[in-house]
Symmetry: C2
Subunit: 133 residues, 2 copies
């Protein structure tokens, strides 16, 4: 199977932002509104494999998106997360191409006590993407 993160547009994703090294899309199975993925354009399975320029370029895009979420969406908390073999029960969701989750947080949210996915409409997704572009 072709890697969906090597070919984000063919996989039906909208690119919210990008730089030379990485791009940003919505998580297809978001935990909360504004749950983004920052993904290097080249295929790596782990952070350890990433070359210095790609790792730095990817993190600069993470920094930029966190800034936009704070300034434009008004999020009051953020969690950055990158999993290598998280051994989730929902293992069919896992794509073996490094991706960094940016997850807005709020008081008393569910993240401290586990992970639950939500449904997010395309309208809502577009609304958030518009603020972040």
């Amino acid at each position: 199977m072709a890697c969906p993160f090597c070919n984000p547009k063919e996989s039906g994703n909208t690119i919210i932002a990008e730089n030379e090294y990485a791009y940003v899309i919505h998580d297809k199975h978001p935990i909360v509104e504004g749950h983004l993925l920052v993904i290097p354009k080249r295929h790596y399975e782990t952070i350890v494999e990433m070359d210095e320029k790609t790792l730095c370029g990817t993190m600069l895009l993470v920094r930029e998106m966190e800034k936009r979420l704070m300034e434009r969406v008004g999020v009051k908390g953020l969690t950055l997360r990158q999993n290598w073999h998280p051994f989730l029960k929902e293992d069919e969701l896992v794509v073996r191409h490094v991706h960094f989750h940016i997850i807005p947080r709020e008081y008393n949210d569910k993240m401290a006590s586990g992970i639950e996915r939500i449904e997010l409409s395309n309208i809502k997704k577009n609304e958030i993407a518009k603020k972040l572009r």
Copy 2:
């Protein structure tokens, strides 16, 4: 109160590794064995505040520590996590100086269903640190 991450040694921490921009210690309240913190030497509250060199330097140390955990400790999975205002119930644990958690993962661990802290003896801590230095 003085920031404990600005003065790690005075706060009783042992530095496991460091580079020009960041250093590594054990998490004082680990979720699992080998739970590390990678911390920039300069004080920042968020990733957004971090200058490019510090952000990149910190991530290169993250990459190095993930490599050591894989090669020397034999971990089979890893989660990288950075929280800004995670709104944990255990809020007294939170230090307002950016720190990146590196958390070894294994099949059927507890992280997918919540967070539980463990006690880790100094002997065990030293054992792991020795492998990672």
